[in-house]
Symmetry: C2
Subunit: 429 residues, 2 copies
């Protein structure tokens, strides 16, 4: 007998299911309340940035490096020193950076909103393109999908591979002039943890698009968020794009939400000269300025990329045991059964778990009834609908290692029970 | 001979002009650099809020009153305590408040942008209304005009009176269904310092509008910004509107930009249940959340409206001498000549100066050549064009009393020189 669950004899399968059900009931009796739904930093990670909270004006002064009183109006596009810092993080010069408030989602939303009402680079407002479409990389990040959905885009789904998006499919899809853009997380993607290969980055820069105003929102959410010393490397998209004259195609965003405080960090965008000029023209009308005291404090603490990297190693020390606990438990419980596959990322905030087709929602329900809240199944697909009902995003950052271990065991048992049900019902995946 | 300059004999006028010119040259020789262009708080005003800068987590803790760790994600619409505080400032309950980042302009822009792409209350997106128009109260605030201009609105100008907008003209103008809304500063208006009378507020609430989705952006920029103990009183627009069933008409905004830090404050919007629900639906897609540590710090410092009022009395002590200096000098220099009129506000940040028709730009140039920068003439009108070229906005908050005195003298002398030129050229105002 092979180890695959589908090869089990009926008796063996019944025994396997009974044992899983017994364990499940035992977990359920504990009355747990565990949450693996969102990529939230843990309190211990936030404690790492408390010195930022405690900085006073005696330490930082009130003036930026070029003499602005940060308590007053002015400098709407960000202090020079914070623009430099994000420039280092994002791989561009400070003149190609705008520093904003504490939400990079807000930057992405505003960019699409600007395209809707004013068009991009002289093009027609996207609102007038009645059959506008957005590429959806699947599985992907629900908040990206929701921005596109909010602005009335239809979706063209392109699957993720171990190298990034399936570029053959993507290159074919973007030939349609109604396809206006795509969101992506090119390093440690949400939820897969995939980093786009150099070849993928090159093809994204080189590809022909039907829409002249096609835009890639390059969400560098996890760009310095490595779990190990050996890290994935992402090619500098702006350098590659220059070779093809497509640097206007890319709007990069990043934030310190998972570096300092998720609830009080900084965000920034980086893009080409032409895009910067177009965005500044809008922002000069839109906003008086972003919080400069918070910028000053961040710049005081993080003088350069080395300081950021040192901080990220401290985060990794807290996060690594959690990720490794999940990996170890899934491995012990599920390897060889042929009922699940999961990602083993070297950074980011998620583990992507694929279960038996048609079973993800059932796993979610089993977990919920046991007090374990997962990211809603379907969230990794546009409109919240996973057509195969098989992808589950696990977010192990927030709970303690002990809680994560318990939650992962419950997930594993739920995956087993769901697989048994599927086999009984003939729904093999 | 009366005191009016236009009644002066040619010889008297020539002598008057010569004296003014001599004084002007003497000022010019000083090589000054004074700025009365924008309503910026002075460094001394900002110092009042330095305790906010210096607050540490040991003092405030990290948790909101309802237990949220303010360093982490969550609470996208504002902490309960900061919503309560703004509710008191704006005259609504906390459930009708959303607290945002540090720019109320951003809130106004985003609201209009939402109307452009999604419409309001089920109406068609405003972008599809090709001949859309906005009421412009004149003189008014340039940044309001610029938001409307950015989104392609034409303007219907309605003059301000001592009671607020000329309501007869306004009621006639809003019958046009293409007129979608207006911005206003109902208390201590920018630049006039006018507070809308109770009758004006009632008529704004009661008036029939051609557009069902007509909206009034109620910019409460100076709502607690009194210079004297005896203050102007603004009627509560939401209470009045309830009587007419028009509470959805009003979108109120406010900020702490001129209470705490202009460069790192809080902003908020207040509106009806229906509008709040519509805006939250958008914001849930747009943003992860605003800076909660800054909210926590503000709430720690300002527990209620009384605390805010105490702080505003300290601001008034710094601002009053500056306003009174300008008033005294304009009075001494210009009263009785019939060449200028100016506002005498009891609060806010501006003095509105009307000079001889066709002379404002010349006054601006004379001042500039003497090192005194004024708000660009025309800024108080849509598209930056004052058709009578007569309104000048003076912003006395930032410079010291000594600098303000000097600047006001230079303005007065420039007004005299410009009036003489106008009389010589037969351009009497």
């Amino acid at each position: 007998m092979s180890g695959l669950l589908r090869d089990y004899s009926p008796e063996a399968l019944a025994r396997f299911e009974r044992e899983a059900a017994e364990r499940y009931e035992a977990y359920k009796a504990k009355g747990l309340a565990l949450n693996m739904a969102r990529g939230k930093p843990s309190p211990e990670q936030l404690d790492l940035s408390d010195p930022l909270f405690n900085l006073t004006r005696n330490e930082t002064g009130v003036k930026s490096s070029d003499g602005w009183d940060c308590r007053n109006y002015g400098v709407p596009f960000g202090l020079e020193e914070t623009r430099s810092l994000f420039g280092e993080i994002m791989g561009v010069g400070k003149e190609n950076v705008i520093v904003c408030g504490c939400s990079s989602l807000n930057i992405m939303y505003d960019y699409v909103s600007q395209a809707m009402t004013h068009g991009i680079a002289g093009g027609e407002p996207w609102l007038f393109c009645r059959d506008r479409k957005m590429i959806a990389l699947v599985p992907g990040y629900d908040r990206h999908f929701k921005v596109a959905e909010h602005f009335g885009f239809d979706f063209v789904c392109v699957p993720m591979t171990a190298e990034g998006p399936d570029m053959d499919q993507l290159e074919a899809a973007v030939k349609d002039p109604a396809v206006k853009g795509m969101f992506c997380v090119p390093k440690y993607s949400n939820p897969d943890g995939v980093t786009f290969s150099a070849e993928t980055v090159r093809r994204l820069a080189a590809m022909e698009t039907g829409a002249k105003d096609f835009r890639v929102i390059w969400d560098m959410a996890y760009t310095v968020h490595d779990l190990y010393d050996e890290t994935d490397e992402l090619a500098n998209v702006f350098e590659v794009a220059k070779e093809y004259g497509t640097e206007d195609r890319f709007i990069a965003v990043a934030s310190t939400s998972k570096i300092t405080f998720a609830g009080a960090g900084l965000s920034a965008l980086a893009t080409s000269d032409a895009n910067i000029a177009e965005i500044k023209k809008r922002m000069a009308v839109q906003i008086i300025g972003h919080d400069k005291i918070n910028q000053l404090k961040h710049a005081y603490f993080y003088r350069n990329l080395d300081d950021i990297k040192a901080q990220m190693r401290r985060h990794a020390e807290l996060l690594r045991p959690k990720f490794e606990t999940v990996q170890k438990i899934l491995d012990e419980e599920l390897t060889g059964l042929g009922v699940a596959q999961w990602s083993k990322p070297k950074g980011g905030y998620f583990i992507s778990l694929d279960v038996t087709t048609g079973s993800a929602k059932y796993v979610e329900t089993l977990c919920k009834d046991c007090g374990v809240v997962l990211t809603p199944v379907g969230a990794t697909w546009p409109l919240g609908k996973d057509p195969e009902d098989k992808n589950i995003r696990l977010a192990p950052s927030y709970p303690s290692v002990e809680e994560i271990a318990l939650a992962a065991e419950i997930v594993a048992v739920a995956v087993k029970l769901a697989a048994c049900r599927a086999l009984r019902e003939g729904q093999t995946g």
